[in-house]
Symmetry: D2
Subunit: 174 residues, 4 copies
Amino acid sequence: MSDLTVRRKPVIIGVMGSHKGDVDTLADARRLGEAIAKRGYVLLTGGGGGVMKAASEGASVAGGLVIGILPNERKKPLKDYPNAFVDIPIYTGMGDGRNVINAKTAHVIVALSGSTGTLSEIALALKSGTPIISLHAPTFDIPDGSEFYSAETVEQVLEKMEEILATGFPHSRG
Amino acid sequence: MSDLTVRRKPVIIGVMGSHKGDVDTLADARRLGEAIAKRGYVLLTGGGGGVMKAASEGASVAGGLVIGILPNERKKPLKDYPNAFVDIPIYTGMGDGRNVINAKTAHVIVALSGSTGTLSEIALALKSGTPIISLHAPTFDIPDGSEFYSAETVEQVLEKMEEILATGFPHSRG
Amino acid sequence: MSDLTVRRKPVIIGVMGSHKGDVDTLADARRLGEAIAKRGYVLLTGGGGGVMKAASEGASVAGGLVIGILPNERKKPLKDYPNAFVDIPIYTGMGDGRNVINAKTAHVIVALSGSTGTLSEIALALKSGTPIISLHAPTFDIPDGSEFYSAETVEQVLEKMEEILATGFPHSRG
Amino acid sequence: MSDLTVRRKPVIIGVMGSHKGDVDTLADARRLGEAIAKRGYVLLTGGGGGVMKAASEGASVAGGLVIGILPNERKKPLKDYPNAFVDIPIYTGMGDGRNVINAKTAHVIVALSGSTGTLSEIALALKSGTPIISLHAPTFDIPDGSEFYSAETVEQVLEKMEEILATGFPHSRG
């Protein structure tokens, strides 16, 4: 396998979504992963199938580094974890507890479709001060002052992502 | 301090909500805690101020056992944690990670008003299969088949709680 | 099942040990659980089999409240978790992550025999400032100033436990 | 800052140790980090000062990728976390709970001197099936069959590391 080029102290973009997904959602995830890698950012996901895998594949094929925060541990294999495109598997053994880590680690999170797991990561990200961009993710009462943005297309996601990164990053986000 | 009477293998009711709350919300929380204790159930909260404290006070004054799942550890005091009415402080030191434990441990959760922390607990509870009753909690896209119920009053919460406990508990919920 | 009498804000004693154990170790665990309950203390264990179960049985039969901090979640049954004598199952879904909670929550921990899991709880307890009494637990280089005590019999454990509780508890330990 | 070259699916070596350390220990940590990077491996530490920082500096200066599994969250700054040489800060907000992740994620762990925190990581690693090489780390009763090795010098650590990686990796360790 070929080597990767990674920036020192790279921007980390989280893509959160379901372990399944319809064709359009998976295509969006793949394009998103690809665009993240091409910008020189590192991709962080929950490391499993569906949206997580499609985003990882997109990033990996485009030469990006892919981190997966896994619910299981190495000794206790779990179907689809890590998916084939994860370079750095972080084994937590903490089940849903790992959602907290996803929400706190990414500089920006893109929530792509998804269900209760994704909703928990959105809520935890808002609580943690991590900016979120939703692409067809579950909607909810958004607290005033939250860094929560809605997009309709992958292009809008990327535009908003650059806006967020241009403002205050890396000084305030470290 | 007087002793408590606790059932063996008691029903555990979680009350989730903000560390603050307006007068009406806190009054609801207190009445809810009281009703939980009078039914012989154990109260579980995040152990802090606001809704958590009001529910704990209600349960404690009515002679109930109060468990608090705390974000901090004993050696690292955190304002309002545990509140004065917690009998069993469970120190996790895991910050928001403790929300996962609240969501998985209660037999039924009542979400009372609240913000992003409460929303994360609702989402995690749905993902964990814990039934939820919302009393003015944040609303969101509820996945089909979720055990999620909305109530308008404390009385409606209690009625729904008894319905849930009558159905399948303790056989399916253990 | 009969009800329990529990003190408000009770002393919580952790008994840590293996999910297995020879006849003598299990007999010690059972006697320890019984003595903890008779003193009016609450028993905390990892909630599983072996030493955890024997201590829980001892405490339960003597009328004590038994808390189990479980590695699994309710929806994902795990053999022996919780054991039949746990009154309050705290479902974490965090695997070995739950060892951290055991170590931080108990006012005093008794480590009874055990292997790597118990050793991790001893180390985490020392790091957390929770006093430990070892009864044939794994030995190791004990850092200076640690509240670590060795006992040879259940009676010595109980004597040392009372000494620790008499000094500073509950003022410094809350 | 210059870019890094990282292998796809790299070997991840954990270096565990105290947030302080004497001159010799810190020199060993630095040399160890350097050697890890020169072999093309990724360095994983707890992301703080002392041994963690010295190893990170060694790896970083030698052009390696450095991951830090942090106890705090971005919004709650903690002195020395992450140290200046961490490229990928994984924010857990889980305090000592993050030790579990260190122990489960590395393919091989080197325990360098250290105290109770390091001992907990050694115990958790043994429980998780992660091979450990100790360089002056706390000693303890090692359970039979554990993949635990003692070394006296950095060179011996590296020799043993290669032996472990040559045997069974990556097939059995994934």
